[in-house]
Each structure stands twice: as structure tokens, then as C-alpha cells.
């Protein structure tokens, strides 16, 4: 095997935090190399060092046997390293073609010959079987296609090494399949892929070799053909994880439950102005977890936002303990005891520029004892924040640190601690485990179950069927803004759910 890229002793330090600790890594030509590890293991940092976003404090990078200096992203692109970030670097209101051309380092003249460039891009797309409408604007595209645009961008710059950071986190199962096909095709052409993930199954399916990262170090590199799954997990976690306990279902009997939330015939529009939620009615009982399943984009987000007071319902009613709360503002809902763990933590859940301490204030800053006669009670707030940080084991060195510097899992824990700390009666949790590693996911599940057992009602939206079945008492499936089916979690299996998610038709056949 020929080596394309070799890292020697890469070390990157942020303050007191050693993100990468003398990492050695070899990438062969034509392989898919999976970088497996929990959140905060240092995977993304390592890749940013390769792609020129960070400059490592120590270590050397060799490209095809020669040492290279990667000081800026442009340097990396010039070598032939392309990175597809977890958060896409696309300009929303430009077309796909314009986004691709923008990234182009080659043939950059003052005046672009758009027609000729378009022909070239089309040729490129055809040769890799990547199909996107070049004239569509980015905001019009679903996430899967945006990612495809990112990949085309990288290929347009003729990348020999393509780095994908958690590419499947935002994809539907179908889109994931498509992505895998593309990656296999790319490696067959002699290009190499680094695939960052924390999902074991994925790693085993797609990877030619797997490197496990933990606490900034590469613990071991395997060929995926001869690997022990349990060993992999242990290396990743650094501890034996206990078998997931078979959870007890809700203590309260179904028919005796008092109805907490009653949604009747709700209609909600999405950002494009089309109706995304079409006449949904549902009930959530006291101490019940209602799971909401569905392929992303079938109205879950709009439903959640309408219930949380962030989006106007155009028709229908919502009752909370028999009180009409249709289109009530978020503050009123929170005062009633309804909390919301939002889908997008960067957009809604937290303010990255604020300190960790200030992030604990979101949604409760106006309440005693956080504030008294308009004045923030700093001492109390700090004490409160420290308490929850300790309780939820959030890794923070200083509560005055900006929240954007926390790792994704710790950010989610912060939101969870903040919202659950309000001792809610109803929790609306939208994809609360998205992007979290196994331990953090487990933590979230435990917390939800703990609150359910205390009598809190929970709406739990997720795209992971296993998780839904495991946590929920009851699951409803959304398809095109309507309820395609409702069933008790005990009765649900992945086939049935998948069947319903596809609208009663075989799951992916409708998609082109």
C-alpha cells in the first residue's frame, strides 16, 4: 500500500486542554479510513490541523513522502486535501454552481466563464454519479444534497484526500446509503477518504481501516476485517459499558393517566410557506413519553416549534392541563412548566458568545432567585451553574468561559441541565441525542426516564428507531405532516416503523 498522508507526533493544545497528544497516523491511497471516537476525543481538531484551520503546536505532516507546511486552508486545498465540515460552508442564497465556483482555486480569473465552468462541473458530477440541480439555491436543498454539494466542491478542487466530519449525523438512512456508494466509488478511483464518526456500525460497514481515538490519542488502528466489536467499544469508551438495562415502562397505567397536553387538529407552515403540519391531533398523558418518529422533514420540527411557541399555528388548538395555550409565547409556556430542548442547539438552545454561566440563565433570567428587582443575582447564578455542572458532569474549566468552546456533548448537557433544572411538567425534546456519543446518549435517556418516573410528560422526537423504541411508551409516526400511525412502544418494531415512516409504502422506493 502506498502512503498518501502521514502524520507524525501532531500535538495541539488549547489553553490547558490537550486536544491532540502526539498523534501518528498513516493514510493509504485508495482507502476509507475511519476515525472513530467519542465526542471530544480530538477527531475534528486533528482534521482541522490537516486542513489548515489550525496550526499544530508540534508535529510534522508528510504528503506523498514529502514534508508539507499547512498554514491555511488554501495550502491544504493546493496539496489536494479537501474537508467536508459538519456544519456546511455554503452560501445559502447563491446557487449550487456559484457555491462550487466560489471554492474553486483553479482557473480563477477576474471574469468567470460561467457556461464553460458549468459544463465542466456537470462532467465532473456525471463521472462520479453525483446529481444535483446546479441552478437551485442552497437554501432550497435538503441536507443530504447540501452535503453532496460540499463533496462536489472538494472534487472540483481535485482533492486526493477527502475528509468527512460526521457526515451521517444529518442524513436520513437512504441518504446515508447514497453517500456510502459515492465514497466507495471515490476510493475505487484511487482517492482516499477519512471518515469521522462515533457510530460503531457505520465504522465497520464503510471503513477499510479504523483508527480509534480517545483523549487526543490514537489508541489503535485495525483493518476492519479482523476486529472485535467489543474491543472497539472498550477502546473507545475506556471502560466497560454495562449492558443496557431493560427499562421499566411507565408506572402509571395507560387508561388512568391524566391528559397533560392535548393537541387538536393543528396546522403549521414551514419557512417556505407551505403547510408542514396538516391537522395533527395528539395527547400526552402524565408520566408518559410520547415518541415521534419520521424521516426528517415530515413536519416534526414545525410541530415542535409550534408547541414550544416559536412558530405560529395557523389552525387548531393546543391545551395544556385544559388551559388553551395555542400560540402562547415561550415565556408563558415556561412559566406553566413546559420546557423545550431544541433541535438545533446553536440556533436556539444556547448563545455561544455568552459564558457558560450566562447560558444557564436563558429562559429563567427574569425569575427569582436568578434576579431580584431586575438585578441579576450573580452569586446565586454562579452557585446554581456550578451545582448543575457538577450534577451533570459537564466538562467546564471556568464558568466564565464562552459556551461555544464546549464540546457538542457538553453543550447538550448544559441545555439539558438548564431545562430539566426548571422541574418541568412537560418536556419537549427534539433530537436530544443527535451528534452525541454513546455515554452522553445514555445519559440523556436516563435523565428522560428519571423525569418520566417523577411524573413529567415528555415528547421525544428522534430519527433513531432503536432509541425511540427503547425510551418511549408510545410512538407516533409522522409522514408528510400527518400522523401515519400510532403504536405502543412494546408493539413497535423497526420494520413496522419503517413502513409507516415511508407513508405505508416501502421505505425508500418513492425517493429518486
Amino acid at each position: 500500500m502506498e502512503t498518501l498522508l502521514e502524520l507524525m507526533g501532531i500535538t495541539k493544545v488549547f489553553g490547558d486542554n490537550v486536544a491532540n497528544d502526539g498523534v501518528n497516523l498513516k493514510i493509504f491511497k485508495g482507502e476509507i479510513h475511519v476515525l472513530l471516537g467519542e465526542n471530544g476525543a480530538g477527531k475534528t481538531t486533528l482534521m482541522n490541523c490537516i486542513s489548515g484551520l489550525y496550526i499544530p503546536n508540534q508535529g510534522k505532516i508528510f504528503w506523498e513522502g514529502k514534508e508539507i507546511q499547512v498554514k491555511t486552508p488554501q495550502d491544504a486545498v493546493k496539496c489536494g486535501i479537501g474537508m467536508v465540515h459538519q456544519h456546511f460552508m455554503l452560501v445559502d442564497n447563491l446557487t449550487v454552481l456559484e457555491n462550487i465556483l466560489l471554492s474553486g482555486l483553479r482557473k480563477r480569473f477576474v471574469f468567470l466563464n460561467k457556461k464553460q465552468q458549468k459544463r465542466e462541473v456537470l462532467k465532473l458530477m456525471r463521472s462520479y454519479g453525483l446529481d444535483v440541480d446546479l441552478d437551485a439555491q442552497i437554501w432550497q436543498l435538503p441536507v443530504g444534497l447540501r452535503q453532496r454539494v460540499e463533496i462536489i466542491k472538494v472534487l472540483y478542487n481535485d482533492a486526493k484526500l477527502i475528509i468527512l466530519d460526521e457526515p451521517t449525523a444529518v442524513l436520513t438512512p437512504y441518504e446515508t446509503e447514497e453517500l456510502f456508494k459515492v465514497l466507495k466509488f471515490l476510493t475505487a478511483q484511487g482517492r482516499s477518504v477519512i471518515f469521522i464518526t462515533h457510530k460503531l456500525e457505520e465504522a465497520l460497514r464503510i471503513g477499510d481501516r479504523i483508527s480509534v481515538m480517545r483523549r487526543g490519542k490514537i489508541v489503535h488502528t485495525f483493518f476492519s476485517t479482523n476486529v472485535d466489536k467489543n474491543l472497539l467499544v472498550r477502546l473507545m469508551m475506556g471502560e466497560e459499558i454495562e449492558e443496557r438495562k431493560k427499562k421499566k415502562s411507565s408506572k402509571v397505567e395507560k387508561d388512568k393517566r391524566e391528559t397533560i397536553l392535548d393537541v387538536r387538529d393543528l396546522y403549521v407552515k414551514n419557512n417556505q410557506g407551505t403547510i408542514a403540519v396538516k391537522g395533527i391531533s395528539l395527547e400526552v398523558g402524565k408520566g408518559e413519553i410520547l415518541g415521534i418518529a419520521g424521516v426528517a422533514g415530515n413536519g416534526q420540527s414545525e410541530l415542535v416549534e409550534a408547541l414550544a411557541g416559536l412558530r405560529l399555528a395557523i389552525k387548531g388548538k393546543v391545551y395544556f392541563k385544559n388551559k388553551d395555550i395555542t400560540n402562547a409565547p415561550p415565556r408563558l409556556l415556561r412559566n406553566l412548566g413546559i420546557v423545550h430542548i431544541p433541535e438545533d442547539r446553536h440556533k436556539h438552545g444556547m448563545i455561544g458568545e455568552f459564558s457558560v454561566k450566562e447560558n444557564f440563565l436563558i429562559g429563567s433570567y427574569y425569575r427569582y432567585p436568578f434576579s431580584k428587582r431586575m438585578r441579576l443575582q450573580h452569586e446565586y447564578i454562579e452557585e446554581y451553574a456550578r451545582m448543575w455542572i457538577k450534577k451533570y458532569n459537564i466538562k467546564v474549566s471556568d464558568i466564565r468561559m464562552k459556551a461555544k468552546y464546549l464540546s457538542g456533548g457538553n453543550q447538550q448537557k448544559l441545555i439539558l441541565a438548564r431545562e430539566l433544572g426548571k422541574f418541568p411538567e412537560l418536556i419537549i425534546a427534539a433530537y436530544p441525542t443527535r451528534g452525541l456519543d454513546i455515554l452522553a446518549t445514555k445519559f440523556v435517556h436516563e435523565k428522560l426516564l428519571e423525569y418520566r418516573d417523577k411524573g413529567t410528560s415528555i415528547i421525544f422526537v428522534s430519527s433513531e428507531l432503536d432509541e425511540l423504541r427503547e425510551v418511549s411508551d408510545r410512538i407516533i409516526v409522522l409522514f408528510r405532516g400527518e400522523i401515519a400511525g400510532s403504536l405502543a412502544a412494546k408493539e413497535a418494531d423497526n420494520q413496522t416503523l419503517g413502513f409507516l415512516m415511508a407513508g405505508g409504502a416501502p421505505l425508500f422506493s418513492e425517493r429518486k
Binding site: 436556539h348 444556547m350 436563558i362 441579576l376
Partner: protein, 356 residues
């Protein structure tokens, strides 16, 4: 909202820590002065002599210091107004119009009202702030309800304010029997209280007001729920809504207050210094507020420091011009280099942080 990008670019100026916000304008201006020293040298003038004159003109004598302080007051007010709006994610480019309209209303009230014991001046200041606030409220309302970019509307409102004022001193507010576009002199009883007097230079109570507002603002930003709301709105509107903040209300109130503060720059100048309103009575102070705010790290206390130094620079520039022939406009070059150096320094510092 296209302003988001501008806001996030300007974040490079933002200094939350008091020490940083106080040191930044000083360092920036020193760098600016050093660069400009080369230009002065190329003019054939010894920069040391020029700067000696500059410093002497600014703070060399008590009278000069007082004059500097009289410039410091309006610069602070507009700087604070811009800072407040920015901290809520709104651009108030309209301080100029707000201070003109504030001065107009204050003058009108001061002339018409006949009450004892400083009451007319108090009344004049208050009515000035209300109308100035309302003047800034209009763009805020258009922004939150109609989605019209406030940068545009506030700039346009400047012309409205300046022209209304110009019309007034040419018509109903014109001094009787005068040819000039100016109001009659304001009665003694409506002058602002004077806290210090020095042969001809009267330091009015406005300076106390500046400090009160700056410290109040600082306290509100970091110690109250209002400040929390304001700062949330500036960074992340979605998260603010999620957190139960009435974003529209915050923006409208903040702009009202910002306009009110800007209006004080005009009304205190008329009631405390010029004692009559005249066309073009203080050109450019509204726009200078933006410079002051950026130099001062968009921090109320930093604004005080920046306003003092800019005031001193301006005041000193006259004596420098008279003594050495270096034109007054050179100080705008100093300002520009100060801002450039702050941008570069902040960017380098951020890069340094990112790498370590």
C-alpha cells in the same frame, strides 16, 4: 437580516472587560499618532513640536482642558447612543438627526417656558430626549414590523432631522429682526447649571450626566435582566425568542433610549454652551459617535475614554494648526489609523488565542 454579518464583523471591536476597553482606545490612538508623525515629518514640521502644541492645546491650561471636556460631552453622548443600539444588534447611524431634533425641541421649550430655578432647562432636556427617542423609534419600528434595514432609515432620518431644524431656525424659531438662521438667545434661567467656571469657559452639568449614563449603562448591561435581554438579542435572535425575550420590544425600547441619549448631545450643547440654536451648530457629531463607540470597544466605560481622547485631539488640533500649519483634518487620519490598528491588533490577538 443582512446586518448580521456587519454585526459579527464589528464584534472584533467588542470589549467586555473594562480594562481592555479602556486600554484599547489609548493604544489605538498612540499608534495613529505615531503613523501620522511620519506624515508630519514629511511636511517638514518636527512632529515633536507639533504634538507638543497638540497636547498643550488639548490639556495644557485649565481653559484648554475645559474646552476639551466640552467636546468630550457630546462625543460621549453620541458614542454611548451608538454603543447601546449596537449592544442590541441595531445600528444607530442616526445620532446626527436625533441630536439635531433633540436640540431643536430643547431650544424651543427653553425659549417658550418661563419657570424659575432650572426648571426650564430640565423640561427642555426631557422634551428633547422624548422627541429624540421617538425619532430613533421610527426606524426601530420599521425594522421590527416591516423588516426595513435600520441603517438606511436612520441615515435618511438624519436628513429629516437636519432639515426640520434648518427650517425651524429659518422660520418660527428665527430671532426677531435678524437675517441669520438662528434662534433668539436662551434666557439665563433656562441655561444648564454650571459646575465649574473659568474665565469664559463654563463647564455645565452635562458632564455629570455623561458619567451617570455611562456607569448606569455599564451596570445595566452586565448586572440586570434588561442587559441580559439586550445582549442576547444582539447575538442570537432565535435563542432570545426561545429564552422568552420579546425581541421586538427590546429593539424598540433600546432604540428609543439610544435616540434619547443622542439627543442629549445636542440639547446639552445648546442649553449649556451655545445658548442659541443655529443651522449646522454641530456638524458630524452623530457620525463621530460611531468612531467613539468603536474605539471605546463598544463598552460604555471605554466610550468615555475614547470620547475624551478624541475631544482632546480635536481641541489640540487647532492650536497645532495655528502654530505649525498642520491642517486640522490630520486628526481624522489619526482616527482612521487608530481604528485600523485596533482591527489588526484584535484580529492578531484572536488568532493568537486560536493557536494557543
Amino acid at each position: 437580516m443582512s446586518n448580521r454579518k456587519l454585526i459579527s464583523f464589528l464584534r472584533i471591536f467588542e470589549k467586555d472587560s473594562v480594562i481592555e476597553s479602556v486600554i484599547t482606545p489609548i493604544i489605538g490612538l498612540i499608534v495613529g499618532l505615531l503613523i501620522v508623525a511620519i506624515i508630519i515629518l514629511l511636511q517638514g514640521v518636527n512632529p515633536i513640536t507639533a504634538y507638543q502644541e497638540l497636547i498643550f492645546g488639548a490639556i495644557g491650561t485649565k481653559i484648554n482642558l475645559f474646552s476639551t471636556l466640552l467636546k468630550f460631552i457630546p462625543l460621549s453622548f453620541t458614542g454611548l447612543a451608538v454603543t447601546l443600539a449596537y449592544r442590541a444588534g441595531v445600528f444607530n447611524i442616526g445620532a446626527e438627526g436625533q441630536l439635531y431634533i433633540g436640540a431643536l425641541v430643547a431650544t424651543w421649550v427653553a425659549i417658550k417656558v418661563n419657570l424659575p430655578f432650572y426648571l426650564p432647562s430640565l423640561l427642555a432636556l426631557i422634551s428633547g430626549t422624548i422627541v429624540g427617542g421617538f425619532f430613533a423609534f421610527i426606524p426601530a419600528y420599521l425594522k421590527v414590523e416591516k423588516g426595513i434595514n435600520e441603517v438606511l432609515t436612520t441615515i435618511l432620518m438624519n436628513y429629516v432631522g437636519i432639515n426640520i431644524m434648518g427650517f425651524s431656525v429659518n422660520s418660527f424659531l428665527m430671532e426677531k429682526g435678524q437675517t441669520a438662521p438662528q434662534s433668539p438667545l436662551i434666557e439665563r434661567s433656562a441655561h444648564l447649571p454650571i459646575i465649574a467656571k473659568l474665565e469664559g469657559v463654563h463647564l455645565h452639568i452635562g458632564i455629570v450626566l455623561v458619567f451617570v449614563i455611562a456607569f448606569l449603562m455599564h451596570d445595566i448591561f452586565w448586572n440586570t435582566t434588561w442587559g441580559f435581554e439586550i445582549r442576547s438579542v444582539s447575538i442570537n435572535i432565535e435563542a432570545s425568542k426561545y429564552g422568552g425575550i420579546n425581541v421586538k420590544k427590546v429593539i424598540m425600547i433600546v432604540m428609543f433610549v439610544s435616540g434619547a441619549i443622542a439627543s442629549l448631545a445636542g440639547s446639552t450643547e445648546v442649553l449649556g454652551v451655545q445658548h442659541r440654536l443655529m443651522e449646522n451648530f454641530m456638524i458630524g457629531y452623530g457620525y463621530d459617535g460611531i468612531t467613539v463607540a468603536l474605539l471605546g470597544g463598544l463598552n460604555p466605560l471605554g466610550v468615555l475614554v475614547a470620547a475624551f481622547f478624541l475631544g482632546a485631539l480635536r481641541n489640540g488640533a487647532y492650536s497645532m494648526q495655528i502654530a505649525t500649519g498642520i491642517p486640522i483634518s490630520i486628526i481624522y487620519v489619526v482616527q482612521a489609523f487608530a481604528i485600523l490598528s485596533i482591527i489588526s491588533a484584535s484580529a492578531l490577538y484572536k488568532k493568537f488565542l486560536a493557536e494557543n
